[in-house]
Amino acid sequence: MSGSGRHPALDCVHCGFCLPVCPTWTVWGREPDSPRGRIEIARAMLDGAAPTAEMVSHLDSCLGCMACLAACPSGVRYDAVIEEARSRVEASGVRTSADAGRRSAIFSLFPHPGRLRVAAVFLWLWRITGLRWLTRATGLTRLLPFIGRLDALAPDLGFGEVTSSLPAGARAAGTSRGRVALVGGCVQRVFFPGVNEATLRVLSAEGYDVVVPLGQGCCGALSVHAGRDDEARAMTRALVERLEASGADTFLVNAAGCGSHLKDLGHLFRNDPAWRDRAVEFSRKVKDVTEFLAAVAPRAERHPIPGKVAYHSPCHLGHAQGIQDPPRALLRAIPGLELVEVAEGDQCCGSAGIYNLVQVEASDELGARKAANVMATGAPYLASANPGCTLQVQRVLREKGAAVQAAHPIEILDASIQGKPFPGRRG
């Protein structure tokens, strides 16, 4: 509900300011595939219309990048509108069985770090045994496009990485300035384990004790963005309980998608009297790690990392959390590092949670646009603070044969503190 007590879809005044920032409208120019168009559909469902195949296709095409949220002068809570509309779709049974099956396959894999790790081990085996070559040569990946897509997205990992576990925590170097708890993320933990390790080293070097509560599952962000509310609430409750039990009063997140969700739990639990206040209180303590570090005086010395670094602003950091300056400020403080902006930097890269697995066409178009803009900067390095974005942008850069090395800002900061060169993998 909005401040006026009405359903947020009714707050839209149809001014159209959301259109030019919407990636699907920018690519297609078709208004049902814009925030304004989707809000109309949400209103129709609110008035009792049953979801149709057309409605579902327009709701599905939304990347959830939330660029419209920042652009809306009327303050419409589009995030609440789209999530609720999607949960109506999921409850309606309008999806074809093939579509529903594919979605449920995705949701039985990605939000489960344990299963994701098993999949990563299989992917690793598949790649090193030559089976990948065989499936590609025989055209099997074309017959199973979903597997091919996963393969194209997943980075090359070593065995040590696919089997690494969440680090236990770290003690402050020197006198402690405080105690914080870290959220490990799912996709990040499995595909980019280096990010959590770097986060611990940086926080420790800056004087913080860090706990990484054991048994962390998914935070529920992927599910809530797709309208799977009950599943999301169950996951979120479990994670909140684990983190609260750590006794820390600051919960740090280094994956933007997780952070934007965990900062807004009041909405997810708005109809749950037992959890509503607890959720709001929890969200108040959540911070992105760059937001946290940029607000405190640096303690560890930064060593030079010479070179041009393009900054990719993940939608769930820039739009959903409004965090623009902190990661940039942290990077600019590294001697020798020249930070450059990517043209159309506010536009989504097409990754968007599970979007690049289910909306291939739009995702590819946006990915190509992003890659071209990254390449136009001429920077050999890319800073990206969200694992989904990094996978997507690297995939497209790899396909284009561009040699751009990507890393999370916290990994770059870590390398600077340790006096190492630019970290990360070449795409």
Binding site: G16, F17, R30, E31, P73, S74
Partner: protein
């Protein structure tokens, strides 16, 4: 050509021209096209078609006309007078896929674009080279050039630089029968009738514009902005009159009243104070001239009783001040569940008394009116706030809006400054023009489109019915109910 028999047959033929994904006929796909930026009076079209080229527009127009359906052109759908509102049984031709910048000639200062190109994108495209496109409607981040041409759009900086009509050099137009005509061009002052002046502001009634050649300007050497607050709109209005009377021509001079300031603050987080009125002024040109002009304007503002004067410390702060002003319309959604955006002009010297009269009219009707406007042009934008959930309030708001416009005419102004007449203000045209004036305009329209198939039901009042209001029983005349006639 023989006409397609049924709607589904027509949809199939349209899809063959523009691609199935660019032709909408299913209910849920049509919802967002039922209105533009003016949301009441929603009407469902038969079809929405999104052509990708002039050739496709020609085919689409021919097919629609062969089926006997009227055509409603649409740009980005941000208009505030219902100019792109569908009529029953029509085909909406939306130009938002035609957004290529076709040719740029910086040396001679022009650019040729498709109609779906966004206003601000023209400037973005040429700004690195030090150029820009001057007309800047508050919706410039989203409104399309085609829509600007249809409405002869203005904007804050039109005080110094003129409206769209002063910046269009040429246009390609698809007529009702599919014929393609080119009007004007990059060379200045084409011989023959000045059809461009007739086309710009014709609200989609003469045809569909598929290419526009626009004049580009060099960015001024310097721009100085200041924000001044006043106890009330009396002092604000006085400041505007005296600044212009002193021979200063600001690039823009905008005024907001207390409610508009409150809304802009809510939308942007600006730390503007709660005051009765605020002015936002830009002076631009050669640095020396700008320094002198803005210093004199600041002095005048102080003399008439400005409470506070703020100068932006950097470009980002300046942009934020303008963002506050430019998002003010939609921001009013934060302080009122519903509102009407009115648009009228008055002589500049009448600003203070007119605002007082609006305030008293609002009070008599038990409603609030926020004012945000281009003060230098005397172009008012009264925003009538209401809550549609309260029975009768919407109608009272509409009546108040109408009364304000009529008052503007009485004071020597007009019923629209820049938003167009559209569907909403057609009924007020008779307050401005006599019958022979309107008839002459109809002759021009008929010369382009004898059947009145392009954007019907806009601008011109429908058949006249006795102007009396419905009786105490509130019963409306059946012909009014059916939409065949209207009271004016």
């Amino acid at each position: 050509m023989s006409g397609p028999a049924s709607l589904s047959d027509l949809a199939g033929r349209m899809a063959a021209v523009v691609g199935a994904r660019n032709c909408f006929s299913a209910g849920p796909d049509l919802l967002t096209y039922e209105c533009d930026g003016l949301t009441h009076g929603r009407t469902r079209p038969d079809l929405v078609v999104l052509p990708g080229s002039t050739a496709e527009v020609v085919e689409v127009v021919r097919l629609a006309r062969a089926s006997g359906r009227p055509i409603v052109p649409r740009g980005s759908g941000t208009g505030l007078s219902g100019g792109a509102r569908p009529v029953p049984g029509c085909v909406v031709v939306a130009l938002s896929r035609m957004r290529r910048i076709l040719e740029v000639n910086l040396e001679d200062g022009w650019v040729r674009v498709e109609p779906g190109v966004l206003n601000l994108d023209v400037t973005k495209h040429v700004s690195a080279a030090g150029h820009y496109y001057a007309p800047d409607p508050s919706s410039q981040s989203i409104c399309s050039i085609g829509g600007n041409v249809a409405e002869n759009s203005g904007g804050a900086h039109c005080l110094k630089y003129g409206f769209t009509v002063n910046h269009v050099l040429g246009a390609r137009l698809v007529l009702h029968d599919g014929k393609v005509v080119d009007i004007g061009g990059p060379a200045l002052d084409a011989p023959g009738h000045d059809l461009l002046a007739a086309l710009v502001g014709s609200e989609g009634m003469l045809g569909i514009v598929t290419e526009v050649t626009l004049r580009l300007l060099r960015k001024p050497e310097a721009t100085r902005t200041f924000f001044a607050t006043f106890p009330s709109t009396d002092e604000g209005g006085e400041a505007v009159s005296r600044i212009i009377a002193a021979g200063i021509l600001p690039a823009a001079i905008e005024m907001m009243d207390r409610l508009a300031i409150e809304a802009a603050k809510a939308a942007t987080g600006l730390d503007w104070p709660d005051v009765g009125a605020a002015l936002l002024m830009d002076a631009d040109g050669p640095a020396a001239e700008v320094e002198d002009l803005s210093a004199r304007a600041v002095k005048i503002a102080r003399e008439v009783g400005a409470l506070e004067l703020r100068l932006p410390r950097n470009e980002a702060e300046r942009q934020l001040m303008w963002k506050g002003r430019k998002s003010a319309f939609a921001a009013v959604g934060r302080i009122s569940p519903n509102y009407l955006v009115e648009d009228g002009t008055i002589p500049r010297s009448e600003i203070a008394p007119v605002l007082r009269e609006i305030e008293s009219m609002a009070r008599d009707n038990g409603l609030r009116v926020a004012n945000v406007f281009h003060a230098g042009d005397g172009n008012l934008h009264p925003l009538v706030l209401y809550d549609a959930r309260n029975g009768g309030e919407e109608e009272r708001a509409e009546n108040l809006g109408g009364d304000i416009l009529r008052m503007c005419v009485r004071r020597g102004g007009s019923i629209t400054g820049e938003h167009g007449v559209g569907a909403e203000k057609a009924a007020y045209m008779a307050d401005m023009y006599g019958e022979s004036d309107l008839e002459t305009m109809q002759w021009v329209r008929a010369a382009f489109d004898p059947e009145g198939a392009m954007n019907p039901g806009k601008v011109f009042p429908k058949l006249r019915l006795c102007g009396e209001k419905p009786g105490p029983g509130g019963l409306e005349h059946p012909a009014v109910k059916s939409g065949e006639v209207q009271r004016w």
